[in-house]
């Protein structure tokens, strides 16, 4: 038994081991009650005494934080471990301390090059699920850890997680608001736009190469599209009134809420150059904040057509509109999960705004137990929701799982930090 296990380790270091794991996820993330998986994560071990580096403790800390960020794992206290990352894996040593998964990382330095060999073991089935080797400079350590954390998630859930994503948000400084970017966990906050006045409502295109937003130009907000590669923002829609809350429709279009002169605010569909294709709403009501289903066939939006703001869904094929939210007298800021199964929004409750989720057919409405809650945005795997709240005074950005488990506050900047927009995968972590 043990002999067989050792062989597996040796062979799987050569072939891509994640393939078999991806076929059979360990956790059914669709399950409403997810039991957290107990994980052992011993200290990273040097390949030899000479290359020992205390700085690598940071790697373990990063990996640990990434795993906790998903809400899927408990990390068992290292003080109880009977084994180390240096030794050959003895599953019984790890199962005795309650571990179902084991993560080991060994490292080696040659000059300035750091090489990490990281493995994930299924202790119950005594097999390696993932084995990856990463080489780079010391400053690449966070990127290596984020990459491996995504591999762990792929093996455990069948899908990579958020560790290569960014969050765009609105940051205030004095009377100016600008679009900023930060890593999925709030690390490395930096300005994306640096303009005078108000720049609001960031929205990603499905490929993650463009951000749309509204910027005030001569007192009137216009819609801009701005490549992440640089080049500054390009104004594409400047109606004579307001052009606000842009949203990309999968397939290469943009919806935005527009008013002309002193006329009403309706949602229009344009191509990426700003050429209006058609209007998606009519009438004298307020219609704002479109968000599309992953196939682009349906659009959630906010309207006051029934008196107070509520969320409605327009079927773009049939042209039919139906009301989605009931039971709360103020519902706004819908965000359709990239997985298609849920729509998150802000609902006014007796205790102020909370993040709520509902299925696109209107069933299963659930209010999450979040402190405050405005402007939700789903992570690309649909498991997490970023939102803003001012429970501590100024607005900051928080993350909660879609099932309501609080992950924590991720922004910690001066001023107000609000309206997060979670990017698709593959942008962050270098």
């Amino acid at each position: 038994m043990l002999k067989k296990f050792l062989l597996l380790i040796l062979s799987l270091a050569l072939c891509p081991p994640a393939l078999s794991a991806a076929e059979r996820p360990i956790i059914d993330i669709a399950s409403p009650t997810i039991r957290k998986l107990p994980v052992a994560l011993p200290a990273f071990a040097p390949q030899s005494e000479q290359t020992s580096s205390p700085a690598l403790e940071q790697g373990r800390e990063l990996l640990s934080q990434d795993l906790l960020f998903t809400g899927l794992f408990d990390i068992i206290d290292p003080a109880s471990y009977l084994g180390t990352a240096e030794e050959e894996v003895n599953p019984r040593q790890w199962s005795r301390v309650g571990a179902e998964l084991l993560i080991t990382c060994r490292y080696q330095r040659e000059g300035s090059v750091l090489t990490l060999e990281c493995r994930l073991y299924d202790i119950l089935e005594a097999r390696q699920l993932v084995g990856k080797r990463y080489s780079g400079q010391e400053e690449d350590l966070p990127a290596m850890m984020h990459r491996f954390a995504d591999e762990i998630m792929l093996a455990v859930t069948g899908e990579r997680s958020v560790f290569s994503t960014l969050i765009a948000f609105v940051h205030s400084e004095g009377n100016n608001k600008n679009i900023w970017l930060m890593d999925f966990n709030g690390a490395n906050p930096r300005p994306f736009t640096q303009k005078e006045g108000l720049t609001l409502y960031p929205a990603w295109d499905p490929a993650g190469s463009l951000l749309a937003y509204s910027q005030f130009v001569n007192r009137h907000p216009a819609v801009f599209v701005h490549s992440l590669a640089g080049g500054g923002g390009r104004m594409i829609i400047n109606s004579s009134g307001m052009s606000i809350t842009p949203a990309f429709r999968p397939g290469g279009q943009i919806a935005a809420s527009l008013s002309y002169g002193n006329g009403p605010t309706n949602i229009f569909l344009s191509d990426l150059t700003g050429q209006i294709v058609k209007n998606l709403s009519n009438g004298l009501n307020i219609d704002v904040t479109p968000s599309f289903s992953p196939d682009g066939g349906q659009m959630a939006f906010v309207s006051d057509r029934g008196g107070a703001p509520q969320i409605y869904i327009l079927d773009l094929n049939s042209g039919q509109t139906r009301r989605l939210t009931f039971g709360y007298n103020y519902c706004a800021a819908p965000d359709w999960s990239p997985k298609g199964d849920l729509i998150a929004f802000q609902a006014r409750t007796e205790n102020g705004f909370r993040i709520a989720t509902v299925k696109p057919d209107g069933s299963g409405l659930q209010v999450l137990d979040t402190p405050g809650g405005e402007d939700p945005s789903f992570s690309p795997d649909g498991r997490l929701i970023a939102y803003s709240s001012r429970t501590t005074g100024a607005y900051q950005i928080y993350v909660v799982t879609a099932s309501g488990q609080m992950i924590g506050q991720i922004s910690n900047l001066s001023g107000d930090n609000s309206d997060p927009a979670w990017s698709p995968r593959g942008l962050g972590g270098k």
Partner: protein, 176 residues
């Protein structure tokens, strides 16, 4: 010009009447709180104007202009319909615009800090539009009115008291 001053005092008295009527109607906050908020807001506005140094409070024309710019109209929570006191103030604005054929005005719609930022941007525009429509009904050509909204992005008073909310739910007037 003295007559103007008398007229304004009269309007102010009427306005207070309108306020108290409204208080009963909506039952939100007490009159003193609203009055205090209004006074506080006007002081704040005056302070900003004085810093900018673009008006001479001693001239009669300056006073009329000041009254036009400094007196906001207010709205009930999540509403864009004009309150009775707002209509009185708008009638005063209309008279000023009629008396000054050379000017065009900007009406800014603002919201309090509760609610969705994006929805409030549209609500602020609707408030400005309500005010503009009333001025047009009073004979001001639409071409002399520009409406803009800042939603809840530019509160006049910070904080989360009823007084601050009331002061921030406003239509503000600027001479172009």
């Amino acid at each position: 010009m003295k007559r103007h001053a008398v007229l304004f005092s009269l309007i102010f008295v009427l306005m207070l009447g309108g306020l108290s009527a409204c208080k009963k109607e909506v039952g939100s906050g007490d009159l003193n709180a609203e009055e205090q908020a209004r006074i506080q807001a006007e002081q704040e506005r005056l302070r900003r104007q004085m810093e900018e140094g673009n008006l001479d409070p001693n001239s009669a024309a300056g006073q009329a202009r000041e009254a036009f710019v400094n007196r906001d109209i207010h709205f009930d929570y999540d509403q864009y319909d004009l309150r009775p006191d707002s209509k009185i103030i708008l009638e005063e604005k209309a008279a000023y615009v009629q008396a000054n054929p050379g000017i065009s005005v900007i009406i800014e719609g603002h919201c309090d800090s509760r609610g969705s930022y994006a929805y409030n941007m549209a609500l602020g525009e609707k408030r400005a539009r309500s005010a503009a429509a009333y001025l047009v009904a009073l004979g001001i050509p639409a071409s002399r009115i520009e409406i803009v909204s800042y939603g809840s992005e530019m509160p006049l008073i910070s904080g989360h008291s009823e007084e601050a909310y009331f002061a921030n739910r406003r239509g503000h007037f600027i001479i172009k």
